[in-house]
């Protein structure tokens, strides 16, 4: 009885009622997913979505290479090899300085798009 009353929304149009009930049904899976995520990554911030990922978005794809830093580090290391990026080349963290090897290869000369070549089916 009480459950029915919960879902009785005095909506002006059925569209809204549909949406409301849909939201309620959808809420549980979303919360369950959130719990799953927090279990895997307990250090995830309290702030949902937060400015962390916004800042990452603003810096998307940027790679900084400073020749000054690079040469200073090389001098410090003397003959030792500079640590190169790990498997994930997109993340430059800590002491690691981007080296020329880390930067993506500049594309060589320009090839025509495959949309322009090839068969028309």
């Amino acid at each position: 009885m009480s459950q029915k009353q919960e879902e009785e929304n005095p909506a002006e149009e059925t569209g809204e009622e549909k949406q409301d009930t849909q939201e309620k049904e959808g809420m549980l899976p979303e919360r369950a997913e959130e719990a799953k995520l927090k279990a895997k990554y307990p250090s995830l911030g309290q702030k949902p979505g937060g400015s962390d990922f916004l800042m990452k978005r603003l810096q998307k794809g940027q790679k900084y290479f400073d020749s000054g830093d690079y040469n200073m580090a090389k001098a410090k290391m003397k003959n030792k090899q500079l640590p190169s990026a790990g498997p994930d080349k997109n993340l430059v963290t800590g002491d690691h300085i981007p080296t020329p090897q880390d930067l993506p290869q500049r594309k060589s000369s320009l090839v025509t798009s495959k949309l322009a070549g090839g068969q028309v089916e």
Partner: protein, 456 residues
Amino acid sequence: MFLKFSLRSVFYGAGGGNDIQWCFSQVKGAVDDDVAEDIISTVEFNHSGELLATGDKGGRVVIFQQEQENKIQSHSRGEYNVYSTFQSHEPEFDYLKSLEIEEKINKIRWLPQKNAAQFLLSTNDKTIKLWKISERDKRPEGYNLKEEDGRYRDPTTVTTLRVPVFRPMDLMVEASPRRIFANAHTYHINSISINSDYETYLSADDLRINLWHLEITDRSFNIVDIKPANMEELTEVITAAEFHPNSCNTFVYSSSKGTIRLCDMRASALCDRHSKLFEEPEDPSNRSFFSEIISSISDVKFSHSGRYMMTRDYLSVKIWDLNMENRPVETYQVHEYLRSKLCSLYENDCIFDKFECCWNGSDSVVMTGSYNNFFRMFDRNTKRDITLEASRENNKPRTVLKPRKVCASGKRKKDEISVDSLDFNKKILHTAWHPKENIIAVATTNNLYIFQDKVN
């Protein structure tokens, strides 16, 4: 007493599609190649629909032209064939900031045709370019001092004079950059939109929107700036922006928090204060870690009439009446079954995918993409929706596409696909609808599909 009818059939489209029967027409691109440069990043018809432009990650633009209808064999509309292709943007390196600038074409927008040539704006993350595409089908012949192959004749051998004349030649389509609008964006450009005055346009990045005049490249006016004084206070970014199709003083921009702001350029020079704020109220008890991320609007498009606008967030498409700010007038679920997969979609970054959406010419049907190379259409009048697939398996011309169905949970019927079998690498982010006819262009990762409605 309350009537509770089944919601699932409405939202999952079990009622069948709309009245158009879509048929495969063409597919372009490589079959097996997985080259990053080939990833299609934008698709756009021009104002007449005769031309269809695509941009890719490699900075290239390919323009297709619809061939004139063959009046005798009118069982299909004209096919789209390559008209022109050129390298619009190249990778650059900003030495001052030590950062690389991708050549990927984020958006293409056509100018309405004013003379024989066609013009379009294309943009990457930092620079907008105005391209002129013109045809050359005659060339001058009969020079006095030059041979036909261009070598100069010895003047002493010239004994008569003649007037050079233009003679027909094989059609050549040339693209040339007429304007380069650079150095106005610190952040990454996500949108460009041409004003209905056809003289100005806006470009939007994550935090700012600039207004340009098409003739002037060395300056632009900043009309929106949401950069906080302290970047630690950053809470939202601009995700898309568009000019109103009829009112030259009005534009909208959407945010990562699911809001849309409508601004009137007559109100002030800097439109930081919106005229209208469109936002659907959210029940705070429904909030989760994912709420803000999935509410982020990835695309905003005005209807052709200018009365409505459509927004796309991660799970739905919403239609807003410009006269009502507090909620959308229509909401269509694109792939609600993903709500119980948000954790893994966050882990593989798919939750940040930016889907676009588009209107048909009469504003009666809207379309958007999904995963597994599925795309969805919603008929606003009949309230019916359909899911179709862009796949080379269906590539017999004039074969009607079979509607697809995703089984969210429970028993999977024959021909249905379960959510766990969906290929999340096959995403349709970009679609376009011909402005006048039922012809659609759908971009999978590196292929372009053209579908048409069945013509009898």
